[in-house]
């Protein structure tokens, strides 16, 4: 089936199998290997991208469902310079192995779109769809609050 997808500002026209997962399309055909896959059941969130401006788990979307959509991956987030979340993750040591990081940053970007000044609890709840095994989340929460310009991080 023919699809046309805008990925990180570039239009891709392709003919794909209906069952092709969006995440595989992004990785294998659109060259966006910055978005990883971490599970089979939409739990881990590593594959999170923005689709038409909101976060989605790209392993749970078919490429054919993204026909006509605008996708932003971690590789499209920076605009000449690092996105504030990328800077904040770096400053706050909010990543160790980095595997969850693309999805975590995109999910955080969506969180801040929806709620520009979250509390710590709102950040934690807002990131419940993204699993990290390295950091224990504390620095991730700090980074998101920093990027939001919020104060009052506990601990």
């Amino acid at each position: 089936m023919k699809i046309s997808v805008n990925v990180d500002g570039v239009r891709y026209d392709d003919d794909v199998e209906p069952r092709l997962l969006l995440v595989h399309y992004l990785r294998d055909q659109a060259g966006r290997v910055g978005t990883p896959i971490g599970c089979d059941t939409t739990n881990c969130g590593a594959c999170t991208v923005l689709m038409n401006g909101v976060s989605v788990k790209s392993c749970a979307v078919l490429a054919v469902q993204a026909d006509g959509a605008e996708i932003t991956t971690i590789q499209g987030l920076a605009n000449g310079e690092l996105h504030p979340l990328q800077r904040a993750f770096h400053e706050e040591h909010a990543l160790q192995c980095g595997y969850c990081t693309p999805g975590m940053i995109i999910a955080a970007a969506d969180l801040l779109r929806d709620n520009p000044h979250p509390t710590e609890e709102e950040v934690r709840d807002g990131l419940e769809g993204n699993l990290c095994r390295c950091t224990g989340y504390q620095n991730i929460v700090r980074a998101v609050l920093k990027a939001a310009g919020s104060a009052g991080v506990t601990a």
Binding site: M1, E17, P18, R19, L21, D40, T41, T42, N43, G45, T48, M51, V54, S55, V56, K57, C59, A60, V61, L62, V64, Q65, A107, D110, L111, D114, D125, G126, E128, G129, N130
Partner: protein
Amino acid sequence: MIPAKFDYVRPDSLDEAVRALASGGDDTKVIAGGQSLMPLLRMRLAYPEKLVDIGGLGELRGVRDLGSALEIGALTTHYEVTRDWLIREHCGLLAQAAATIADPAVRHRGTIGGGLAHADPAGDLPAVITALDATLVVAGPSGTREIKPADFFSDYLTTSLEPGEIVTAVRVPKHDGWGYRYEKFNVTAQAWALVGVAAVARRSDGHVAEARVALTNMGSVPIRALAVEAAAAGAEASAAGLAAAAAHADDGTSPPSDLRAAADYRRHLARVLTGRALATAAGVP
């Protein structure tokens, strides 16, 4: 993991969708947001021959004010449900409950129609629309019909939808003046509800005038806790008064014993959570 092959159509109209479904037979399935279906496809627990993608049917999205009820299009996403002003104002239970489904990214794609048609008793929406005494509006080859929740959910992952039928909307009576609470109990935030209790209650003069309570994951379908409702009617709007009503929560239920929880614990949880949900719905501080 990778889904098995399937054919795929994306109809432009509801009629086309109904025809595609009806002509496809047993191995044709609807996909909307895909948040319930995609994991099943990836794990090859489901392997339909054809998917009918109704995601393009714009007429099935959105919320309409019908006066005494709201009509919520089947393709309205959980995220949209949590944000919709009409829903929050007139049947807040639905907005509150939708906010507990999965996580933000899943809520951006998952739809109310899909969540209901999937009919997973561990899903949150079936019990919620049962407690709200909503009506499912369904379109099929023989036209449109309306189905009440008790007639819609027939078994585990099974509804009374006939071949070719699609849920097009959920009609929810306005519950102005009713308190509400969806009490969802899970081990981790991502996990499915071990047990969930959807409660709405109308107060009058320090007592509960009327309550409706429905249970998630206490059987193969959502369960109206009729014994609780009967006991709550006229009960004092206090923690103690409502705990007594809540003691009936597991009457007539057959909760599963599975990896997640044993039946006796589910029964106990149902009673405890019903008390809490009722108390909140009845405005007990």
